[in-house]
Symmetry: C2
Subunit: 345 residues, 2 copies
DNA sequence: TGTTAGCACTCCATAATGATGAGTGCTAAC
DNA sequence: GTTAGCACTCATCATTATGGAGTGCTAACA
């Protein structure tokens, strides 16, 4: 049996209707609301075929049909027409509140959640290597010193340290110089014990302080390598009855709260930010995260600079409005491109 | 009618039982599980009295009784015996992960949620005034400059700026000096237009940059004045059937997600961190936040240094295990005291 | 006077029953 | 190939019965 044009049209109609209502859709509905001019009986025959082909399924005998994962897949791959997103200038709103990367991303999550009525996630970009650009020690008072660590890509970290011995201004300057000569341009792996020893011989009374600082640098770099995830609109999940079942809801919400599992969507090797801005759709069982098996997740990839990517994700029921979501995401990716190209924040 | 000793004992028994089961409790249960040696009939008479006094209520005729808000209130005020918290050394776990304030507080929220099975919130401390201790400009490359702003209390903020004109190293140093002489020790209100103009006359070509920096300082101080709220264990709410009703759950969870309303618990004037470490209990309608009218919230106050407070809160059903929660909170406040006194992080 | 046993009564929860209606598959006719 | 018609299935909803938990009241008892 083949998927002829008519079958496709019927399938499309079924899915579209189901996306709207969430109820199984029957033959009479299709017969009335399409321009095919076919009786419900004919539609029934076609629907039987579509069921045999695995695109739709009956939740029980004598109920209408609902799409299977395979049906949804066909739909997002070939059948749907993307909607152009009407919310087109989010950019200004975005910039207004977002003075820093962290806030920007949180804001992106929030706006997407508000616009789509689904749950959203945004990951921080994943860097490949983190080298030390420079660091700077400043004495804050007699016993405290502030270390500002600047990593390649202008990531800035700061730590406050307390010294057991009183600090001498000139010594801090010297220490600063020594640390910079030794560490500038180094990656974390390159800071080995030999180097540390060598450095320590040069710093006299401040050995303790130096180890603390080195530790801090290590964790700072480490920390920046970690991907953080911001979420928003988690409670939107409860708007969809098929997910509001106590157990499902709890699972999904706690995944969103704990975030660790969400990074799985980033780790997916197949980033291709070229075509369609790297938008990918994971339907039901296609999700690797267990709690999401009843959801669909749409992810998009944003690029901060050459080779440095982060992901944006929308999490909703399988019957989510794919067209709108994809449109909104494409739009948002455009806005982000603008922002990062102009490097305003 | 008076609340005699026997009535108190019965009330206590009713509440205790209800805290455990969440089911209305009947006269026979009390008759069996207390050492009062009274028949169910006698208990019934007493219960009728207690109902008349407003401490308990019947959800419907011929059901057992459940405590009213007034009943709970009496219970937490006089009847309960605090449990000593068995989880007594959280301190080490806490320090391990918490290299910075932000992480520490997040971690506190997490641990409390794990220990209590309720939702938790932790607010950042509220400072009264924020003065500039010093700031430091560093040229990162030809067009970019990093400003590190250190506020009183060693709050460190950093911003990156881009200049339109190429930067000269000596100019940056001069700028640094000028900014510091003008701004050191100033509060945000003290940075007025007159001062800004005066400053601008001194900086030659960098007027643009200076306004940007001043803006950044203003928002940085502002930002630090804002109270942020960390939450954890929001999904624990769904473990309690009386809160799992779709609408209630959505309301509570979105309050937890959006956080704004939660700061109301901080704004409460009556902070008295002395007795009992400032633990306060808000039962049902005593909560100002609408979505929490079916919950109880227990808050505690931690003190970072003289006069600088933050709050920790536990949010659960009205039948929460008050004894345990209060115990756990007291313990946690102790741990935090330790940490802040020793100023490790 | 306080306590208790006994009994009628109330009301929730649960299961069983039946009616309704949406939707199907199949067959026969167009 | 398409359609009308019909018997059939099954979820949903309202209705009804049944059991049990718990009460309030009364009368008897210590």
């Amino acid at each position: 049996m083949e998927l002829d044009d008519r079958k496709l049209k019927i399938l499309q109609a079924i899915i579209k209707n189901y996306l709207e209502t969430g109820e199984p859709v029957g033959s009479r509905t299709i017969s009335k609301y399409t321009d095919l001019n076919l009786s419900s009986a004919t539609i029934r025959n076609e629907m039987a075929d579509l069921e045999e082909l695995g695109y739709i399924i009956q939740p029980h005998t004598s109920a209408g049909r609902i799409p299977t994962d395979k049906g949804y897949r066909l739909y997002v791959d070939t059948l749907m027409q993307e909607k152009v997103d009407e919310v087109n200038n989010m950019r200004d709103d975005l910039l207004e509140k977002a003075d820093r990367m962290e806030n920007l991303l949180q804001q992106v999550a929030k706006m997407l959640a508000a616009n789509t009525n689904y749950a959203t996630m945004v990951t921080t970009p994943k860097y490949r290597s983190r080298k030390i650009k420079f660091l700077q020690l400043t004495d804050v008072d007699e016993y405290q010193v502030l270390a500002v660590i600047v990593l390649e890509g202008n990531i800035v970290k700061n730590r406050m340290f307390r010294s057991d011995v009183a600090l001498v201004k000139e010594d801090v300057l010297k220490l600063n110089l020594a640390l910079n000569t030794f560490l500038q341009g180094l990656d974390i792996e390159e800071i080995n014990i030999g180097l540390v020893q060598k450095l320590k011989t040069q710093v006299g009374a401040y050995q303790e302080l130096v180890s603390e600082i080195l530790d801090a640098i290590a964790t700072a770099i480490q920390e920046e390598g970690d991907i953080r995830v911001y979420t928003s609109g988690a409670t939107n999940i409860l708007k969809y009855p098929e997910l509001s079942d106590m157990n499902k809801a709890r699972d999904i919400l706690s995944t969103l709260e704990n975030k660790e599992e969400l990074t799985q969507f980033v780790e997916n090797g197949d980033i291709k930010p070229d075509e369609k801005r790297g938008i990918q759709v994971y339907i039901g069982d296609e999700n690797k995260v267990d709690s999401m098996k009843d959801c669909s997740v749409v992810t998009a990839t944003y690029e901060i600079e050459e080779g440095i990517y982060g992901k944006v994700g929308i999490i909703g029921p399988k019957r989510m409005d794919y067209e709108r979501v994809v449109g909104t995401l494409q739009n948002m990716m455009g806005q982000l491109d603008d922002i990062f190209k102009n490097k305003k924040p």
